[in-house]
């Protein structure tokens, strides 16, 4: 019995880590399948990418087929692909001829900076509003935020962005419309993403706080003579945090949906922009690179969120999953 308890925590953690690894493996496999499923000769495409259409010759194509070992059995190529993915070397762009990893590192840096700012900004707005709404369910703040959340979730990201551009760029002439070099270039994309993110997280925070407020242990804390604020900080906050942390990780998915649109709208050179232009140019290695990077980041973030939840609420260890 004691042994089982001692092993419960590492086993739950291990199980969750294995799950995240299998997600990454399946993702890499899907990418490999897609890469080989698209019609056309792969060696020819790589040759065009590296040399350009005018310098192409059948000899060059054959040379690349040998160099990239494309004539070997698919299974061998599959394991080589997995090895390549693990080391981060997934080939060259059909368009620029540069290694995909190099292109993505630069774009990823821009996107990461934008993501962190937008995410922090959305919680800077959603946390106070959500807690205020949850402390007084059906109060004025609760109704107003519920309405705002419903309206914002029916708005596609590009509409928020266009509205912000028409106000701050065209009407007030306060901010530059597009670019990425100066800090003020980040303002509008970050606000656009943050407003889209804020709507659902505000509701999740509100529900978590309202549920904790209605619980028996909060009533008991009041009975023991804790004031409202003290009872919430001592007992409410930690319990309300579990669903909030889980949702914060899920939001990465929303954030990514937003990136494609926001980066395209503001011409911001991040991963979303790279992926959209690679798709338009049918630059398959870059598309796969972006999908792999986004997918594995998503798996890593939800793993981290689950582990944090297990640490905050050890009861979750028994269930084996932090967040379900």
């Amino acid at each position: 019995m004691q042994r089982a308890v001692r092993h419960a925590v590492p086993r739950a953690v291990l199980r969750r880590v294995l799950e995240a690894l299998s997600v990454a493996l399946i993702l890499a496999t899907i990418c490999f399948a897609l890469l080989h499923a698209i019609p056309g000769d792969m060696a020819l495409r790589i040759a065009v990418g590296q040399l350009g259409t005018e310098n192409m010759s059948p000899a060059a194509v054959e040379q690349i087929r040998d160099a990239e070992m494309l004539s070997r059995p698919l299974l061998v190529q599959y394991f080589d692909w997995l090895k390549a993915v693990a080391t981060g070397d997934i080939g060259r762009s059909f368009v620029s001829g540069r290694p995909v990893a190099e292109e993505l590192r630069q774009a990823g840096g821009y996107t990461l900076r934008l993501a962190v700012i937008a995410w922090l900004l959305s919680y800077a707005l959603a946390l106070p509003l959500g807690i205020a709404a949850g402390l007084k369910p059906d109060g004025a703040i609760d109704r107003a935020t519920a309405f705002a959340a419903a309206a914002f979730s029916s708005l596609p990201t590009f509409l928020i962005g266009i509205a912000l551009i028409s106000i701050f760029v065209l009407a007030l002439n306060l901010l530059p419309p597009a670019g990425y070099r100066r800090p003020e270039h980040l303002v509008l994309p970050a606000i656009t993403l943050a407003l889209g993110l804020m709507a659902p997280s505000m509701r999740v925070i509100r529900d978590a706080v309202a549920e904790v407020q209605a619980s028996a242990y909060m009533t008991y804390a009041h009975v023991r003579g804790f004031g409202k604020a003290k009872a919430f900080i001592r007992h409410g906050l930690r319990n309300a945090s579990v669903p909030i942390v889980t949702f914060a990780a899920l939001q990465f998915a929303y954030l990514m949906d937003g990136f494609f649109v926001v980066e395209t709208l503001f011409n911001f050179p991040g991963i979303g922009n790279a992926m959209v232009s690679a798709l338009l140019a049918r630059d398959v290695p870059v598309v796969m690179g972006c999908a792999l990077l986004i997918g594995t980041t998503f798996a890593a973030i939800s793993l981290a969120a689950d582990l944090i939840c297990m640490w905050m609420d050890p009861r979750l260890v028994d269930e084996g999953h932090g967040s379900r």
């Binding site: 997600v23 596609p156 590009f158 266009i162 028409s166 065209l170 990514m256 649109v261 338009l280």
Partner: protein
Amino acid sequence: MAAVDQRLLWTIGAATAVTIVTIAVIIGRDPLHQDLAVALAPPSMLFPLGTDHLGRDVFARLFHALPRSIGIATSAMAAAVTIGTLVGLAAAVSNRLVDAAMMRLTDLALAFPGLLLAMVLAGLMGGGMLPVLVGIALGQWPQFARMTRSVAAAAMTEAHVEASRLAGLAGWRILLRQVMPRVLIHTASLAALGVGGAVLTISSLGFLGLGLQPPTPEWGAMITELLPYMDVAPVQIAAPCVALFVTVLTCMIAGRRLAEAI
């Protein structure tokens, strides 16, 4: 329940009336007709919402785009509901191992961001109606599978199902007669919300240039095309924005109403 049915009938009736009037108004208007002489013309009697950069009638384009977007969104949702319901029912009646395997698969598909999937599929297949439809359906089926499984599993433990089984009713009959109606009620509200989400995805893909291809009228693509003329053609760009917002909001409200009615 009766009150809800009446309200639903009214809504359907109103929607049909609006559609008929719209069709009557736009008949004879060609959404693809270009006339550069009237490019970016402001709203007038002839062009109620002005013209775009190629002199096409924005009003006609707006209303020709509506049935297409709704049609794709509804078909994608129908496909997602079919796949999801089948997978969910299969998981609910299977043994534990098969059930666990199917639900893991569903979790995995659920973890994949929907727009990303639609983008990659539509992008690699070259845009157009079918890739967009397939991309959306593949992103949406897992939520229906998960919901079906939980509703069906709960329904099968109930007394009347047990009674039918003891009475000797065949397994598939029990599923069809007693489990499916329960599942479908829950599916309806999720699907209505899903249609709204799908309309959003279609317009996002159009906006990125990966969805329906020009010159097909589509709200997202219309917005992208007019973006460079934002300062001289505010009405033309606001029109598809408002249309999109109203359509999605309607689907969301319908979904929520259905959820409350359960």
